[in-house]
Every structure is written in C-alpha cells, then in structure tokens.
C-alpha cells in the first residue's frame, strides 16, 4: 500500500483516537455517528440519554430513546404529531420525569440538578410564551439572569450588559422598551431567545421555535441558532416540523415515530424517501439542493383516481435537460407505466426518472448516443402504447431520439409538447422531423397539462 503523506489512510482512525462505536445496538438504535468531527472527545458528554422511556399515567409516550451529543452541535427532533417529540424535550428539560432510563447532562445525572442549577446550564425556548402582562422586552430578557441572582439581589451592571448583548444578537435591542405583549409572534420569539441566551446556557432546547413564523423569520432564527452553536459551542436540541429546515440547519436528526426512534443520523441518512413514507405515510422526493447542498424534500401528490382510467397504459417519453420532469411526475402519479430514453447519466431528467423508478435507457455522461442505446430505445418505444416528446431542444447529440420516433412512421400515437423557445440546433433537421411527425398525425400540445389531457382522451 502506498503511503500518502506518510499515513495509511485506512488506518487513520485508531491513531487519532477516534472510536468507531460499533458497539452493537442491542435494543433501540444508538446515535453514534459523531465520529467524523475531528478533535471532539467522546467523553465530552454534553448530553447522554440512555434507554429513556416516558409515560403519562399508564400511557407510554416515549420508549427506549438513546441520544448522545457533544457541544457545538445542533440536533433536530423530527417526526409526525404524537410521536413523542415534545415529550423528549420535556424529559430533557426535567419538566417531566422519565419512567425509566437515564439522562446525563454535562457529565452529571439530570436528577442531581436543582432547578436553579439546571437553569444556569440549560435554557428552553417554548413554542409560545403567554403575554397577559405588561413587562417590557428588557424586563423579559433580564429574567434570564434570575437563576444567577441571589434571592434578594437585584440585577446589576453586568446583568444589563449580558442582556444587552443577547438582545443585540437577536436584533431585539431596538424594542427593549416596548411592551412584550405588543410584539408580533416573530419578534416575541426572538425576545424569548434573547432571554434564553441571557441565561448563558451551554445547552439550548427549542420546541418548534419557528412554527408560527413567517418564512423570513424562520430563516433568521435558525441562522441565529446556527451561529450561536458555532460561536458559543452551544449544544442545540430543537423540535422542528419542517423537514427541509431540519435538513438544512441540523447536524443530526432523530426521527421519532410511534414513540420510538425510527432513524437517527445525518439528515441524508434520516430523511430518505423510505423513512419519510414510513413515518408520515407520504410520498416525497428527496434531493440535494444544487445550491445549498443540503437535503430537500418535495411532496408528491397522492396517486390520483385517474390511475384507474389509464389502465396501466405504457408511455415512452423522449426528453432531456430537465424538460421531462413534470411529464414524468404527471404520468407516474396518474398510474401510467412510463419508460424514458435515451437520457445521459447526470441529466436532471435521468435523476428524476431514477427517483420515480422509471425504467430508463441511458448513456454515459456527456457522450453522444451510441447505436446500442438507440436500438434499445426503439425497442422500448415499440413496446409502449404511446410515445411522448417533451419540449426538449434537439442537437446533434440527441437527434437519434427523434429519428427513432419518426422511424415508427405513424404506427403509434405520438404526443409532442411544443416549445416557445428555439429547440432546433441541427440546422433544420429536427424541425423537419417534427413537422413530419405532425403530418403523420402526431398531436401537438402547447403545454405539459394539455399533453397529459390529450393523453387521457386517447
């Protein structure tokens, strides 16, 4: 084996004292994929939850949850309603007593913390704060100093400075003298976060901090949480409904379902199509966002009733460069048996086809279509009941696809979507073929919706 930089890459782990944590998870899943972050020691246990179960009376609401984390991390708790998300947070904040299992906080048993001690180490931001009183925002934020003050003491200069710094961080210093109950929901939430920071905690728990906020405030607050995590080494645990925001802002996720952990790990590991289907009974498409690089999730419509009408008819789709995505989704969700080709691997239509489990004839990336692929494609067209062409532009690299359609010579219904933009990059050859197809009876549709409607009427 060659040594690069004098190191054997495969054996690096033990040298750096990184543990692989393959202690077999006997019951329940364990969240132990923290290894990749360098320099973090396993015994820095900001939070260590072992086999936690909670019940309300005789009703179990949380079963056998494991969770370990160091500082400087953001952990998202996701899951459907009633899956125990808030219960987990309440157990962590000592609001409810677990029925079994243990919670260790900063290397100490949570039970050994007095209420005041806990408040000096952990701050909680609730979903909503009642506001039936007339405290000013600065009053509210200063309350974060309360766990640090002696019984009869009054806030001093340093307390004011900390409160001011927290308010500046959450951009709420501007309304320090306004009444808390006169603020909007987003402003109020930011004030409550400022109060939490004024506690100078090392752990911050947030229960759906952005649920009733506008999108801009959602981003603002989550960005702030991310900054705090980084700058102050806070351990952040938050319950969050929006899976896309969870994927974007959390380092790790716990997916709770039916009172137990269904999946845990990085957002990419947790937010898979299968996991989401199992937990939420909803079909989604999971992709990496091309710009942010984080996972993003798109809801799919439930399969519509029209599925019965199409009787599993086979459609072959010619598309490319993303022009086929909407058609693919429309056809699949209506129950057509769809094939597609020829598509280059890495073409976004190829990825869409993959996600929709559409059988695709493919070609290597950035390569012209080979005769083999073209022949397979023709076979696929012949096997189909209907051939559709998206408003894909044609150039010398994909003209074979169009040639294949023309070679059917009117033996099959063809529906083509007209394009408003220039689509012929073959000095007129493609236009000629498209015109020939129309002369042979191909149906020209002005839009994807029209094409699908025409298909249904065939």
């Amino acid at each position: 084996m060659t040594l690069i930089d004098g190191r054997a890459p495969d054996n690096r782990a033990p040298i750096e004292g990184r543990q692989l944590d393959n202690r077999a998870p006997i019951e329940g899943r364990q969240l132990d994929n923290r290894a990749p972050i360098e320099g973090r020691q396993l015994d820095n246990r900001a939070l260590d939850v072992q086999a936690l179960s909670c019940s309300y009376g005789d009703v179990k609401v949380l079963e056998n949850v494991f969770l370990r984390s160091g500082s400087g991390e953001c952990i998202g708790i996701v899951g459907p309603n009633g899956s125990g998300k808030s219960t987990l947070l309440k157990a962590l904040s000592k609001t409810i007593k677990p029925s079994s299992g243990s919670i260790v906080l900063l290397d100490r048993d949570l039970k050994s913390f007095s209420q005041g001690e806990l408040a000096r180490n952990m701050a909680v931001v609730a979903q909503d704060t009642p506001s039936d009183f007339s405290f000013t925002c600065l009053d509210i934020v200063l309350m974060g100093r309360s766990p640090h003050l002696k019984r009869f003491a009054i806030e001093g200069k340093r307390d004011y400075e900390i409160a001011q710094a927290s308010m500046e961080l959450t951009s709420t210093w501007g309304f320090r003298d306004r009444m808390f109950n006169e603020l909007s929901g987003g402003e109020r939430q930011r004030v409550v976060i400022a109060r939490a920071l004024t506690q100078e905690p090392s752990i911050l728990l947030l229960d759906e901090p952005v649920s009733h906020l506008d999108i801009n405030h959602q981003i603002e607050i989550l960005e702030l949480v991310g900054r705090l995590k980084k700058d102050r080494g806070l351990l952040v645990v938050l319950v969050i409904h929006d899976l896309n925001l969870a994927a974007r802002y959390c380092d790790r996720l716990i997916l709770l379902n039916g009172k137990a952990i269904q999946a845990a790990g990085s957002p990419a590991d947790v937010l898979t199509r299968e996991n989401i289907r199992k937990a939420f009974h909803t079909d989604v498409i999971v992709r990496r966002h091309p710009m942010t690089g984080s996972i993003y999730i798109t809801l799919m419509n439930p399969v519509s009733l029209e599925a019965h009408k199409c009787e599993g008819r086979k459609v072959h789709l010619v598309s490319g460069a993303g022009t086929g995505a909407r058609l693919m989704y429309a056809l699949v969700s209506r129950g057509y048996a769809v094939t597609a080709g020829v598509l280059n691997v890495l073409d976004s239509d190829y990825e869409t086809a993959g996600e929709l489990k559409i059988k695709t004839i493919s070609e290597a990336p950035f390569s012209p279509i080979t005769p083999e692929a073209s022949a397979q494609n023709l076979e696929s067209m012949k096997a189909a009941d209907i051939v559709m062409i998206s408003d894909v532009p044609f150039g010398w690299g994909n003209l074979q696809n169009l040639e294949a359609v023309t070679s059917l010579a009117g033996s099959k219904p063809v529906i083509l979507v007209e394009s408003a933009e220039k689509r012929d990059f073959t000095d007129g050859r493609a236009t000629e073929m498209l015109d020939k197809l129309k002369a042979e009876g191909a149906i020209a549709a002005g839009s994807v919706d029209e094409a699908v409607a025409r298909l249904a009427s065939l």
Binding site: S93, T95, A126, T129, F135, L138, L142, I154, D177, R195
Partner: protein, 361 residues
C-alpha cells in the same frame, strides 16, 4: 389618570434605573401611610389636632419622649393612645395583610381577579366565628374565642380547598378556584343556618360577618403583627419567582424556579395571613382584590415593587375607609366592610369594562 400616573412612575426606558425609582416610590408610600395614620388618629368625634397626635406619639418613644414638653390634656392622650391608636394600627395591619395576601394570590393564580378569600378563607372564618358566638364562651374570653374560632375556620376552609384541588402534589389554578367556590358555598350555607337558629345573637354574627374594626384592641394588633411581619418577609423572598411565574409555570421552571415549592409556600403564607387578618376584623372585602390591581396598573407587574406597594396601599386604603366609616353616620358608625365594598365593587366593574374594551378593541 391611571395612565398618566403610570407614565410618570414607570417611564419608557426606565428599566435601568428602576431599583432607585422603586425605592423612591416605596418611601413616598411609606411617608403617605404615616400621614394617613396621623390623620386617622386625629379624626373623630372629638378632634385632636395632627400636631398634638404626633407629639403624643413621639412622647412615648424611649429617650426621645423625655425631650417633649406635655402641651396636651390627659383626655387627648387617652383618646389617642387608648381609643384611636389601636384601631388605626389594626386598620393599617389588616389592610396591609389583605393587600399582601391579595397580591400574592393574584401572582400565584396569574389572575388579576383572584383574592385570598376565594380559597375558602372568608367563608371558613365566618363559620368559625358564628359557631363560637352561637355556642358561646364565657364573656371574658369571647373576644379571643371569636378570633380563635375564625382563624380555625379559615384554616379549615383553606385546608379543604387545597386538598380537593391537589393533584399529584400540584395545585392547578382552575381546580383551586373551583374548589374554593364550592367549599365557600358550603360554609356559607352552614353560616346561614347558624344565623337562622341564632336568635338574639344574630346581630353579633351579622356584625362580625360584615367586617368592622370597632372592637379593635391592642391584643388584636399583637396577634396580627407577627403574621404580617413574617408573611411579608417570606412572600417578598419569592418576588422574582412570582414575576417568572407570570410567563407560565413551565417557563418559570426553566428559569430556575421550583414552581411547586414556591406555590406551596406562598399559598400557605398568604392563607395564614388572610386568615389572621379576617379573624381579628371579620370579612372586609375588596381590599385584597382592588389594591394589588390598582398598584399593578400604576407600577407595572414587577412583584419586587408590587408586593411592598400593595402592602402599604392596602394599609392606607383600609385606614381611610375605616375613618370614613367612623365619621359618616355619627354618633353611630358603619361597618367598614360596607365602605370597602361600596368603593371596591364599582372599581371591580371598571376593571372588567376596561378588560372588555381591550378584548373588543
């Protein structure tokens, strides 16, 4: 007017200097309370000038008293020291106790309409006092008997209410209020029955229930004073916790308050205080309700100023109301409970209307 006053005493941007401001406000209230007390002592069927009152009082202060030349008649002195002083002191103490118990109850229940009486204290005290009056004890001990009976009844009422309301060692506000109403209704029924069968003692029971200070004695003052002193200290110790509890009990816990403990301590303290006050004065309504509320409107919700301010304002309010009750229909006097209710009920309605306006915009 409330708004202007609040604007002066709670200026915008005044958070940083509020400790200093609170101190000034409380000193002003204390000074005012002294003025009210002197006015109350000097006012009566035979007027003793305020200057004389001050001198007579000062002459009783050790060391300092020897320096003061006696310029008043022995009659004035005995009116001031034997008749009026215990009564005014008792008025101050009862008012202070009711204001303090009221501000505490409103803080615990996060409900500005709450009142310590709602916890079965007043109805229990009425039942206890009626029972003692009806069954009777030897004349010499009757005063103590009534106080003791009322106190025992008040504590019994509070005890039953707390036990009905307690769930998992916690006292949820709704159940406390509801069980308070139910227990009060039951005790009132017993009291009415006792009145019905009381015959010639009916007057005595009715006068007690209406609440009055005319039997005020130094003994009453000495009974109530320690309750007020200890109660005020204990309650003030949890002033910041009461602030936090306004944000909700869970939020208070997250900010370091042991909510269950604080609630229990404060409920016990305010109940004992209200029970002690009721047992020496009868049922004087509305002081515990409107005084804290008025102070909150003017000074804001922070209990660190609200608690002492309610104590002082309650003391002044009841003393003034009692002075009025003494003077209004001479040569007899009116039970002070009627005066406080006549002032308190309209104020309560004003608060409700204000709240309604707020809700409907």
């Amino acid at each position: 007017m409330v708004r202007q006053l609040s604007g002066i005493l709670r200026p915008v941007g005044g958070t940083e200097r509020r400790a200093f401001r609170w101190m000034l406000i409380l000193l002003a209230l204390l000074a005012l309370a002294v003025v009210v007390a002197v006015f109350a002592i000097s006012t009566g069927p035979s007027n003793v000038g305020p200057d004389k009152v001050v001198l007579i009082l000062l002459s009783k202060v050790p060391v300092l008293g020897d320096q003061i030349a006696k310029t008043w008649s022995p009659g004035d002195e005995s009116i001031v020291l034997v008749i009026r002083l215990p009564r005014v002191l008792l008025g101050l103490l009862v008012g202070a106790s009711l204001g303090l118990a009221g501000v505490t109850a409103q803080g615990i229940f996060k409900n500005p309409m709450a009142d310590p009486y709602i916890l079965g204290i007043s109805s229990g005290a009425a039942m206890g006092a009626s029972l003692v009056i009806l069954v009777g004890v030897s004349a010499g001990l009757l005063a103590y008997g009534i106080v003791g009976g009322a106190f025992a009844g008040a504590l019994l009422g509070a005890f039953i209410v707390f036990n009905i309301a307690r769930t998992h060692n916690k006292f949820p506000v709704e159940t406390l209020l509801l069980s308070g109403i139910a227990v009060s209704a039951f005790f009132s029924a017993v009291t009415y029955f006792l009145m019905y069968v009381s015959g010639h003692k009916l007057n005595q029971i009715v006068f007690w229930v209406m609440g009055a200070l005319w039997n005020a004695s130094w003994e009453d003052v000495l009974i109530l004073a320690p309750f007020l002193l200890v109660g005020a200290g204990v309650i003030y110790a949890f002033a910041r916790d009461l602030n936090l509890m306004l944000l909700g009990e869970e939020s208070a816990a997250h900010l370091g308050t042991d909510v269950a403990k604080v609630k229990t301590v404060l409920l016990v303290a305010s109940s004992l205080l209200a029970a002690a006050a009721v047992s020496v004065s009868g049922i004087i309504g509305f002081v515990g309700l409107i005084i804290p509320h008025m102070m909150r409107l003017i000074l804001g919700p922070d209990h660190r100023v609200l608690i002492p301010a309610s104590l002082l304002a309650g003391a002044m309010f009841l003393t003034l109301a009692d002075t009025f009750a003494r003077m209004v229909m001479q040569p007899t006097e009116m039970p002070v409970g009627i005066v406080t209710a006549v002032i308190g009920a309209p104020f309560f309605i004003y608060l409700l209307a204000r709240k309604k306006r707020k809700v409907t915009g």
